[in-house]
Symmetry: C2
Subunit: 373 residues, 2 copies
């Protein structure tokens, strides 16, 4: 089974790899090679995965949706989702309590399962921590993981723990199940479908701005205690997102079957682009219809940013964005838990926002592009 590695090795250890590593150590990229930021996260995923082979006929949906789908039996599928959270990129230990971090790491993965209209049943967790972390800190993270497992009735199926010289890293994979006929993809939206969103949006981003401001205050005056009383809702939305299992149960009990669905991790503008790309359509939404909490509006005013921007581009709300046939209008219009914010159009990739003034603008799909600072 062992390969003729010597040839394989010599072709690129000294010439290619060391070259790369040296560039990397130097912190420069003046090599004629391509910056990752030129592609962005999704460009990169498309580039990387475009020519991977498929061996198993029962893999229904691979890369490109919230989760992967694998046929389990004639009528049921397994649903898998994975996420990697890194200190400094995805969270800042200066203001994210470790218990919340554990909870959130689970919640955001369960949210991906729920976004396929599936029910999560398990997770695996891998954590890497510095030797300098006391065990009590790891206990705190797992306490949060356990709270999420208890609340959403998912089992901890396994995982590993290792040391890190790099900071704290958490990787969670979530496992779910669904009836094959009930799975909802990003690709099923049709022109005239209603675009709906659960709960309210923009709050998690408002919470992030508040926490970031508190951190600055703390760094300047470490003896002050942050007072977050007036921001409890938005800070809670940032630190403790919840997968919207209740919403998919409610949709089912109302006899509503979304034509497409996605969870809001990167902001509505970005998520609508995903739905429109996969469904080969466009969308028009109404700024005045976006459900935004009073506290979110207040924070937007403090930071002199439009609340609509929070809602469209803020991200991390983990609400569900979904489309329903227009025939469902009467069923949906009076449901308190979702809001109709617009409709699907025929123009591929065109996402328009109708402002309160009546002006129609292109939605900015920046979202939270992980490769742009």
């Amino acid at each position: 089974m062992v390969l003729k590695s010597s040839v394989f090795l010599r072709t690129f250890i000294p010439h290619f790899q060391l070259h790369l590593v040296i560039l990397y150590m130097k912190g420069t990229n003046e090599s004629g090679l391509t910056d990752i930021s030129n592609l962005g996260e999704f460009g990169l995923i498309n580039r990387i995965t475009k020519d991977f082979p498929t061996f198993h006929q029962n893999v229904v949906k691979g890369v490109g949706d919230d989760a992967a789908i694998v046929e389990e039996s004639e009528n049921t599928v397994q649903v898998y989702s994975t996420d990697l959270l890194l200190e400094g990129t995805h969270f800042d230990l200066a203001y994210v309590p470790l218990r919340h971090l554990g909870y959130k790491a689970v919640a955001v993965n369960l949210s991906d399962i729920v976004a396929m209209n599936a029910h999560p049943y398990g997770i695996t967790v891998s954590i890497a921590v510095s030797n300098r972390f006391p065990i009590e800190a790891v206990d705190e993270i797992y306490e949060g993981i356990k709270l999420a497992c208890q609340k959403y009735e998912v089992d901890l199926l396994g995982g590993d723990t290792s040391s890190s010289r790099l900071g704290l890293v958490i990787s969670v994979t979530a496992f779910g199940r669904a009836e094959k006929s009930e799975v909802v993809y990003r690709k099923g939206a049709k022109p005239k479908d209603l675009i709906c969103v659960s709960g309210d949006i923009g709050a998690a981003y408002a919470g992030l701005l508040v926490l970031d401001r508190e951190k600055s205050v703390y760094l300047k005056a470490p003896n002050t205690q942050p007072d977050l009383t007036d921001y409890d809702y938005v800070v809670g939305r940032q630190l403790k997102p919840e997968p919207k299992l209740g919403i998919i149960n409610q949709l089912k009990s109302l006899g509503l079957h979304p034509t497409s669905m996605i969870d809001i991790s990167d902001g509505i503008a970005s998520e609508l682009h995903h739905i429109c790309e996969q469904s080969n359509c466009g969308a028009t939404i109404y700024a005045g219809k976006l459900p935004i909490d009073y506290q979110t509006v207040k924070v937007a005013e403090e930071f002199k940013i439009s609340p609509t921007t929070f809602a469209l581009n803020g991200g991390e709300d983990y609400e569900l964005l979904f489309t329903l046939p227009i025939q469902d209008f009467d069923k949906v219009k009076s449901i308190r838990e979702f809001t109709i914010i617009g409709h699907i159009t025929e123009e591929p990739g065109q996402i328009h926002v109708v402002l309160d003034s009546g002006e129609v603008v292109d939605a900015d799909a920046l979202g939270w592009d992980h490769f742009k600072e």
Copy 2:
């Protein structure tokens, strides 16, 4: 769904969390809190997971084996394994080619599936890279991932890519399937069972020592080209481990069903401890029976370390260690692909090594304890 986070927050952001974070930044732990290195990896996992609830009756095996097992149908199970690989802890970019790194990240996870006597069918991959990495470097990693997918006919089911300020991080989850009756756990070994190992062992550790020496040479004299010709086998074993799918197929075709099995990631001594702990038994192995390649012996001599130590404590061989009923002796003794190295005994936790001199010593179960430097 949003919690009263303000109370929850204030109880431990300023008092507990900032305290921890400050200690962590300072790089000290003079706090009365417990060092992680006091527990080691498995102590930590046991501590963390001991009081997690189980909600789903179809979860057969959670934390504590190579992989998690979840019932899929009356006769089949799903098998899941996950691993997190960090630059500086699990690999060193100075001598691990990126393509090999991608390959190995997949291979070691497939090995965990195979160690349950199951067949892998898919993986998810999450990667975090520095902005300073060129896309060509990410391409190299995925090229290695693709090679492994092609060789073992597994599908890339999904994953994500994000930026890292911390160095390169790769997380892989592997998915497999097995007939329920064919799954092999760590817990089934019985006194008098034969202890067998596939292939040869200690080579991957020998390869690591050689690569580490070449790195030192390179750092002192960057214009020299490493010449690894005489070390191709051991270096290949370190950089390009292979999951032993062929072995489980061969066992099946021979009508052999192991009573326990594990893959050798941390060294035979450590793996035997896992089997003995889960099976409530002991083991005696014979140093003279350990299958060690000629090149491994040569490297051991160069480094003035006993080849037996390489074999027992080296790790990363990803061979299979398994037990068979003594009745299978005649079937096994002439199979070239496995070696009988000893037998299971009744004394719980006692792992003895019979040296060539006839002397009997306790095997040292140090392995590669991730929390000890």
